[in-house]
């Protein structure tokens, strides 16, 4: 039993953090909001240089062959930086899905795409049944779309996109009009359902990991502001009302951290508790981040309510991640199904462990 990350994992996290702190500034994010695609091919190439899209690509396909336990800390950093690139769809969901398709006897698609993903030369968008929208469809070189119990690999030319306007300028979502045909079908039946479920859980886990970073960053911003802003002749951070708000936010963020890390482990190892563990992670981390957003806004006061202050960039990330890959209510209901509806006692970490 060992709940620590390895030095290598922490080093990778630090590398990504250093890179994003230098390059993915609030100003950078704002600039992207004002571009047509909201995405930067140049930035994606830099992310590929430090290996982000290659993380879950097998080594034999030119990737780093890591798993979600390595990825989770990286994703946390992308949340912290409010990164606006398709890291969830391409790096966290599409890469392992293509790997699994290859394992199940469809190597062609993986051969074609995995290497390019690892190099940063291809972006893949992913559609799933829990949301009517597909993120990043406008910049995708390939779309992996769910339809009933099937997965289809669809070329961008054969879909019609309608851009929806998200409150989060980093979120580019589309209604996708397409017709499933036999040639695009890459999985169906039991396999299709399994891969859909695994992909959805990977996406939800990725959102949860980003929310950790978003929540932590919101608290840090509010702490900094409260330490500098004075009213009544003192820094507002000396007021108990301010202190206690941020302390409560910190409790929530810290108590979602281990839940997210455990879910990463469950996904990486395909544990039977994977879906429930992911739902707990998504729900808990999202509640923490949206709570932190609300408290941070109240700490900032009027200035936090303005477009020119950066706070809203992270607030809106917290809100949009909360809705992506299953809302909180949806995930709570999934946990309830396993915990409350089951005839058997739920699995409690440690407590339910069998003896040897």
């Amino acid at each position: 039993m060992e709940f620590n990350f390895s030095e290598d994992q922490e080093l990778l996290q630090q590398t990504v953090r250093d890179f994003l702190e230098g390059e993915c500034t609030a100003e950078h994010v704002r600039q992207l909001w004002n571009t047509e695609t909201g995405r930067s091919a140049e930035f994606w190439a830099k992310l590929a240089e430090i290996g982000v899209p290659a993380l879950l690509v097998p080594e034999e396909a030119g990737g780093l062959g890591m798993d979600e336990r390595d990825l989770v800390l990286v994703l946390e950093e992308t949340g912290r930086a409010a990164l606006a690139e398709p890291v969830i769809s391409t790096a966290a969901v599409a890469a392992p899905l293509l790997r699994e398709l290859a394992q199940s006897g469809k190597p062609g698609l993986a051969e074609k795409w995995l290497g390019r993903i690892a190099e940063g030369a291809a972006i893949v968008a992913v559609g799933h049944g829990q949301s009517p929208f597909v993120s990043d469809a406008h910049v995708a070189d390939l779309l992996l779309l769910a339809h009933a119990d099937e997965i289809h690999a669809v070329e961008p030319g054969s879909v019609d996109l309608t851009a929806e306007k998200s409150n989060d300028g980093s979120q580019r979502i589309f209604s996708v009009d397409w017709t499933p045909v036999g040639e695009t079908r890459v999985a169906e039946g039991e396999l299709g359902r399994e891969l859909q479920a695994a992909s959805f859980d990977r996406g939800a886990l990725a959102c949860a990991a980003q929310q950790l970073g978003v929540g932590q960053r919101l608290i840090e911003m509010a702490v900094l502001y409260a330490s500098q802003r004075t009213q009544f002749g003192v820094a507002i951070g000396t007021f108990q009302a301010i202190k206690h708000r941020l302390a409560n936010a910190k409790v929530k963020v810290e108590y979602s951290r281990s839940v997210v890390y455990r879910a990463a482990n469950s996904v990486a190892l395909h544990l039977p508790t994977r879906s429930v563990d992911v739902s707990m992670a998504k729900l808990t981390a999202s509640e923490a981040a949206t709570f932190a957003a609300k408290e941070a806004l109240q700490v900032y006061g009027a200035i936090g309510y303005t477009y020119e202050e950066d706070l809203h960039i992270w607030m809106k990330r917290a809100w949009s991640l909360d809705l992506a890959f299953g809302t909180g209510a949806w995930h709570r209901e999934r946990v309830a199904g396993a915990v409350v509806d089951s005839a058997l006692p739920a699995e409690s970490f440690g407590y339910s462990a069998p003896t040897a």
Binding site: K165, Q231, F232, Q298, G301, Y307, E308, T327, A329
Partner: protein
Amino acid sequence: MDLTYTLEQQAFRKEARAWLEANVPTEPLPSFDTKEGFDAHCDWEKKLNEGGWAMVPWPVEYGGRGADLLEWLIFEEEYYRAGAPGRVNQNGIFLLGPTIMEYGTPEQRARFLPKMASSEEVWAQGWSEPNAGSDMANIQATAIREGNEYVINGQKTWASRGAYAHWLFGMFRTDPDSKRHHGLTFILAPMDAPGVTVRPIEKISGKPAFAEVFFDDARVPAENRLGEEGQGWSVAMATAGFERGLMLRSPARFQNTARKLVDLYRKTLQSGAAIDPALRGRVTQCWMAAEAYTLNTYQTVSKLLAGGKIGAEASLNKIFWSELDIEMHETALALLGERAELKPGSPAAQGVGDWLDGYIFALAGPIYAGTNEIQRNIIAERILGLPRK
């Protein structure tokens, strides 16, 4: 206790309803945070004024209807019920108007009130400065008397309607050596005076909602002073009392939102979408809270009409409506699921995006007009009598 309306009150309601049904625009006006919308709202105010419904609670001599507070409540109920436009001239009707009636000279009343009533002149608030937010007494903008004028320097911020308003009211330090709430004077300043610069501030939705107003040796005549020199704090406190109190947040506003929320719940249920079972109770609770707000307002109004006073109780009011407004919108967004993040114009939004807009508006509630932290301090110290220090 008699919770029925008198015949006169019923007749008043009938008259208001008939006029509104005949005159309220059939299509929503564009947001008054745009120039186009600002003008359209001014036109609507003009129409209201011509119909005699712009300044309902003002005395007849100033162009009002001389309505008492209960009639005002009835008018507001009808106004929201009719889906009539937001009031671009709110600062004038509810804040500055009553203040001028109380503190203004006869000349000031004659000069300012009629054009306020017709919305020919729309007013911006100039309460806050960058370092005078919650700490309202920390004002640094100065107005130095030179002959028959005040020379104004400094900066006001969060001026609501500031982007397009014609006039601004606020406190300025006329005694540069004074501290805190001493030495302040309440001044009415035209926004087109030389030396006045307006910079709109966008709220997080990206829409302009406030403005910063910079004064650089701007000169206003001494007769634009409201009340005595150095008495600005008392004048402002009276005005702020109007704002914190019931005048700006009529119960009908929240009842209207609560009813829309109930409607959204029913429609979502009918659509067959999965709904978090907890939302049934939350929707009900929101509806009840809007009723509680209404009943409390009616009771307060009855007390005022019987000669009572409202003081720090306004702080209870502020906390209640601002938290309710957020809760109603969060509940609505929870009902919308994935569509909750769509902006109003988004193809898949089909009208639901107004809830997001309303949520962002509601989020300002606990911040403006005195943060809820300040209100809690006031309740604790002035109503409950807890020690200050």
